[in-house]
Amino acid sequence: MTVTEPKARFRDLLAAEWTKLWSLRSTYGVLVTGALVVLGICGNSARSNSDLIDNSGDPASQAAFLDPFHAAFVPDAFLILVILAGSVGAIAVFGEYTSGLIRTTFAAVPARRAVVAAKVTVVAAVMTVFGALVAGASFGLTQAIYAEHGIGRSIGAPGALRAVAASALLAPVCALVGMALGALVRNAAGSVVGVVGVLALLPNLFRGETYRWVKEIGNAMPQSAWEALVRNPAKPPFVPDKYPVTLTEGWIVLVAWPLAAALLAMWVVHRRDV
């Protein structure tokens, strides 16, 4: 029997990964829940601040004191987004290992790095759209709530588009880090602990400005980069940072992490027995 075979195309692998992602109910569940949680927290923050202004003895100065960006990008809300996006990425990888599906996958496509590249591409694309929708909606919602007090900003305000873009990127960045952790650890509990440890806890170990090297390590974390990029240029901090993350550094961090994560995932999956 002779085998006649069409040329192998990368886009077939993309289509396969797309099918895999959307044929699991959990994908929809996790993304919808995540979006609602973030929007709920940010919307609530803007509403509470509005009430604060209304009930204040001096509403005008209270309104002027508030940073309208803060409610759009509440750090705790985006920390949830970070963990959720990291988990989505991790599940996409460890889900194949824990079920053993990975052997079926690699028997069908022995070019393992191409499989990982396709998975990375699909997850990154989906999470970028998800991040953009959540960040855009959060900005729009909170600024609309603030509009009645005249402090709502438009997307054209200085730093606004940058803040939305950085927040949108946070989702794919964390998803790819999650994928690398999933590929390294290959089981559910370990991968999720890894996601929380690396993305949520690690940055907190490198804070304070006493030692520059400590702060610089902290500055290289995605969370610190995001904090720098969503800062409202119209509301500088009262006490300026001694070793701040510059905008350029922030963007570099948000590009370097997912790249390194994707390469790491491809490398370990290529090398190891499955």
Binding site: M1, A8, E17, S23, L24, T105, V109, P110, A111, D273
Partner: protein, 306 residues
């Protein structure tokens, strides 16, 4: 000429454990080849090395002259069912097969064809998590058939199938082999292979024990014995021994006769007026051949590593 699987001095070590030890064999097209060995003999590890899932510590294995892992896409070259549980329970059978088909540029209608062929068409939209083991085996077989490949590998495919399913799978193997495909089927039960395989590769503790046609393998076995119950064992023993058979008295009063078949024993007993209550050909000689060959090779300490 179809695709040949060829292993040369294939070796796989995990730390101090040697799972596969200098294994060389050839699996030819047009036959169903049984891959037989006790649990832990290294069958699954060998199959995984054929598929490039595990990298050999030493030696090589090729399919159609090339290491499988060098191929960008696999389904048109080798169809494999390693473990029926290796699917995501949250997906439907159709979605599972669709993703596999897409990755190899196999048309959508082929998915429906294989679902029809394995008898899962009417449950294809249900999630695999709710499938019985037998249904999962069928799904795994469907996945193996997707690319219409010249080589088929199955690891313990009869597990979990009902008798009807076993017959169906055997029929499928024979049909695939008759079409000129290479069919390689592992099992730890000789009885499973007896009606399934044409050729056997037997391993124990990672080493080759035998590689020969089923008939030759069977001939290695002890001669078939017949269990006889009679009212007069002494008379029967005298008659049968005179014909060259050896007769052994069992604790339960019956006799085990070797050297004559059941029909001849019956004739002799009738001719000499000995009453016979029961005549039963005992045990499969193939099973015995297998047990003899693999005795001392069973490894219950180290399980097949996953």
């Amino acid at each position: 000429m179809g695709s040949v699987i060829e292993a040369i001095e294939l070796t796989k070590r995990y730390g101090r454990t040697t799972a596969v030890d200098g294994l060389s064999f050839t699996v030819k097209p047009g036959l169903v080849t049984g891959f037989l060995g006790p649990n832990g003999a290294g069958k699954s590890t060998t199959l995984r090395m054929i598929l490039g899932l595990n990298t050999p510590t030493a030696g090589t294995v090729t399919v159609d002259g090339r290491p499988f892992r060098d191929r960008p896409r696999g389904l048109r070259h080798v169809g494999a069912l390693l473990d029926a549980s290796e699917v995501h329970g949250g997906r439907s059978a159709r979605a599972h097969l669709m993703a596999l088909a897409r990755s190899n540029r196999i048309p959508r209608r082929r998915v429906d064809e294989v679902l029809e062929e394995v008898g899962l068409a009417n449950v294809a939209r249900r999630r695999v998590g709710g499938y019985s083991l037998g249904m999962r085996q069928r799904l795994g077989i469907a996945a193996a058939l997707l690319g219409d490949p010249p080589v088929l590998l199955f690891d313990e495919p009869l597990n979990g199938l009902d008798p009807e399913g076993v017959l169906w799978v055997r029929g499928l193997f024979h049909r695939m082999a008759a079409e000129g495909r290479t069919v390689f089927v592992s099992s730890h039960l000789m009885t499973e292979m007896e009606h399934t395989a044409d050729h056997l590769i037997v391993i124990g503790r990672g080493r080759l024990i035998a590689a020969e046609p089923l008939a030759e393998f069977a001939a290695r076995g002890t001669r078939a014995s017949v269990n006889v119950r009679t009212s007069d064992p002494a008379a029967l023993t005298a008659v049968l021994t005179a014909e060259g058979a050896s007769v052994q008295r069992e604790d339960d009063g019956s006799c085990t006769v070797t050297g004559l078949d059941a029909a001849r024993i019956g004739e002799l007993a009738f001719a000499h007026g000995v009453v016979v209550h029961e005549l039963a050909t005992r045990g499969s000689s193939l099973e015995e051949a297998f047990m003899q060959l693999t005795a001392g090779n069973a490894d219950h300490v180290t399980e097949e590593s996953r």
